[in-house]
């Protein structure tokens, strides 16, 4: 069985877990904190990042969350998530990159730094200026999501795709860390509410990072 080396608030691990669940691929969670990575972890992934997937029976290791998703898309027929014409597939991958890089860099990463790393590792208080800036940038991203939801059934087109999984993973971490304010974003909120009630999402919503608690609405399916 696949092992996923990850920590509970890693958005890229969450994206991979959502994909595996949708595809019906079983996995075990193995805890790995990139900030405490040992030589064994660096040997598995010279990029030093989670998630890393390892199958001890097949002796296969995979890293980089987009490479991992492409691997399962190519090897498991169920629930295709990078589908359609080449142009459709380019649109899915463009949005995955937008969420993995821009949403993460603008919103999820500063929240993880201020509210997780500073608390657990650096033992410093969060910088409220950085948190305000992340929440401001989150509104800009949510404006764009509102527009996508207004114009398409799913974020990248007519079908649910890896773009939906990638954004849901980022938002779930940002929401856990108190960084999402849905005010004025009804379309994005309704898209996320549908997503939260999918069976693949349940395990993420019930998982907790030590010490850090999510806001009370985090795991509610109607909020």
């Amino acid at each position: 069985m696949w092992r996923i080396y990850q920590f509970p608030l890693c958005p890229f691990s969450r994206k991979v877990r959502l994909l595996l669940s949708e595809k019906g691929v079983g996995y075990e969670l193995w805890r790995a904190d990139p900030w405490n990575a040992d030589d064994e972890f660096w040997a598995m992934n010279p990029a030093g990042r989670t998630p890393v997937l390892h199958d001890p029976d097949k002796k296969v290791s995979l890293s980089d969350s987009r490479a991992i998703c492409e691997y399962f898309e190519e090897t498991v027929d169920k629930a295709p998530m990078i589908n359609g014409t080449a142009a459709n597939r380019a649109e899915i991958r463009r949005l995955v990159a937008l969420f993995d890089e821009n949403f993460f860099g603008d919103v999820t990463m500063p929240l993880l730094h201020e509210r997780m790393k500073k608390r657990l590792i650096l033992r410093q208080p969060p910088d409220s200026r950085v948190l305000r800036e992340a929440m401001k940038l989150a509104h800009g991203h949510l404006d764009y999501i509102d527009w996508l939801v207004d114009t398409r059934p799913w974020l990248a087109g007519p079908q649910m795709s890896l773009a939906d999984l990638a954004l849901a993973a980022q938002i779930s971490v940002a929401d856990y860390l108190g960084g999402i304010d849905w005010d004025g974003h009804e379309q994005a909120r309704s898209w996320y509410a549908v997503f939260k009630s999918r069976p693949s999402f349940g395990p993420l919503l019930s998982e907790r990072m030590e010490v850090i608690q999510p806001p009370s609405h985090y795991a509610l399916l109607d909020d």
Copy 2:
């Protein structure tokens, strides 16, 4: 014909140009500076980054360099660059991500900031501490490249792949900006020398960014 919106020292545009040249796909260069992006550019790519590809006849726009490369890999049979088994393809994509994200973040991005943005836009002198740190991290990456070249014909396996193009693109920009010291990296140097003499590489080596000149060895094919 495809238009590539880019600036001469964008490593991701260079990766895409190498791929298109290897595949024999024609293109025109259109200058776009992300730091001066206008509304038209933001409309083409909400991530605000180069390259953006646009075909005015087909009315197709593509952005995110990895999504663009996958698009041409799927639509042009010549010179496959993401090839082999699913595990081979995962290894190619893992290395592309390592070079696009880690090499770029550790080496190319700080060099671009200190030696291009500060000179052209911010009108500040470079920070020698940042430059030293980037060159130190470059040595770590080149150690890993030496090891790959020692163990495989090309970086990701038996065939030239997108991993080679991605690293060559990053190194060419870092080398232009004086950030590559090959001392102690004979394997990586010999791999890059082979690459520099490919026809696809010529146009990159002859192109210049305004004001900023590369070191004298930059375009020499035997150095």
